[in-house]
Subunit: 175 residues, 2 copies
């Protein structure tokens, strides 16, 4: 899921190679199949965390990946695929040095979560999102804002296909 933000950056480079994207996002009658999550799932900030992550480069982010009860249960039981109703969230913040902490450490080594950058969701609904492996994808630049432009989300599913062995979910559970 945390791939999505990178995709936003690299979308131009990627789209050319993704010939299988169109069939995945269009039905036979030309109507776009739903693959997007348009609303932020309520209460997600109270969910338990699955793990944490750090992206360098353009993303320059620290992230917390959390999940609703169904997600946590599936992770802990090691059951795949994730059941319908599973929602996984990735909250990202700018990866910033903490001058406050470094002063106490006496050296520059401490990085903390700075301003929030985006929050992303994967929602499992094997019928609604049948065309994209059962997952809907969402990206929101504000914690309670509108979804990102749909064009920028077209790359989510093709990229997440790289991790078919774990039901399209990159993040592993951290004890």
């Amino acid at each position: 899921m945390k791939r999505i933000a990178f995709m936003l950056v690299a979308v131009a480079a990627l789209v050319g190679g993704l010939a299988y994207m169109a069939p995945a996002s269009e039905q036979a009658d030309g109507e776009a199949a739903p693959i997007f999550v348009d609303k932020i799932p309520p209460g997600y900030r109270d969910w338990r965390f699955i793990s944490v992550a750090h992206e360098e480069g353009n993303l320059n982010s620290l992230g917390a990946i959390s999940g609703n009860d169904l997600a946590i249960k599936a992770y802990r039981e090691g059951k795949l695929p994730f059941p319908d109703g599973t929602i996984i969230a990735a909250l990202h913040w700018r990866h910033v040095p903490s001058e406050e902490n470094n002063k106490v450490f006496g050296r520059s080594q401490s990085f903390v979560a700075g301003p929030p950058t985006n929050v992303q969701f994967m929602v499992k609904d094997s019928k609604k999102y049948a065309s994209t492996g059962g997952w809907g994808f969402g990206h929101f630049n504000e914690r309670d804002g509108k979804p990102a432009e749909r064009a920028s989300l077209q790359t989510c599913f093709p990229c997440h296909q790289a991790i078919k062995s774990r039901d399209l979910v990159f993040t592993r559970y951290s004890p």
Copy 2:
């Protein structure tokens, strides 16, 4: 709290300068006042997260800082000092590159939580831990293991005093 692990590394260098440590950890009769948390609080892996952190250098860690309900409530309401009963946890893992993710990205930029390294706690009890600002400190090298040697915890309180303005708690809440 995440300072503690650094202290373990730098303890030799620090102890010399901490002349005020002895009065803080000893009572008039020579009995050590309790400043340590000897047991891992039950259920901490289910707590909501406060923020995330990354330490370079010897620590080389990714961390998730979480809190029990009292901690989360106090953070969200911006109330200081934290009430008795507050517990804050810092779970640390090795900061490791994700070859799996980097392969998908096409570049080396992705770091994830590797093997767990330690979990630390701050427990607020203004009477029990009166000699250390109302906080007890704990450090466990395993998720369900025994506490660290007490000597290595002697530096927790002196270091956390650097952040008196936030009731000795370094971590800020991330939305």
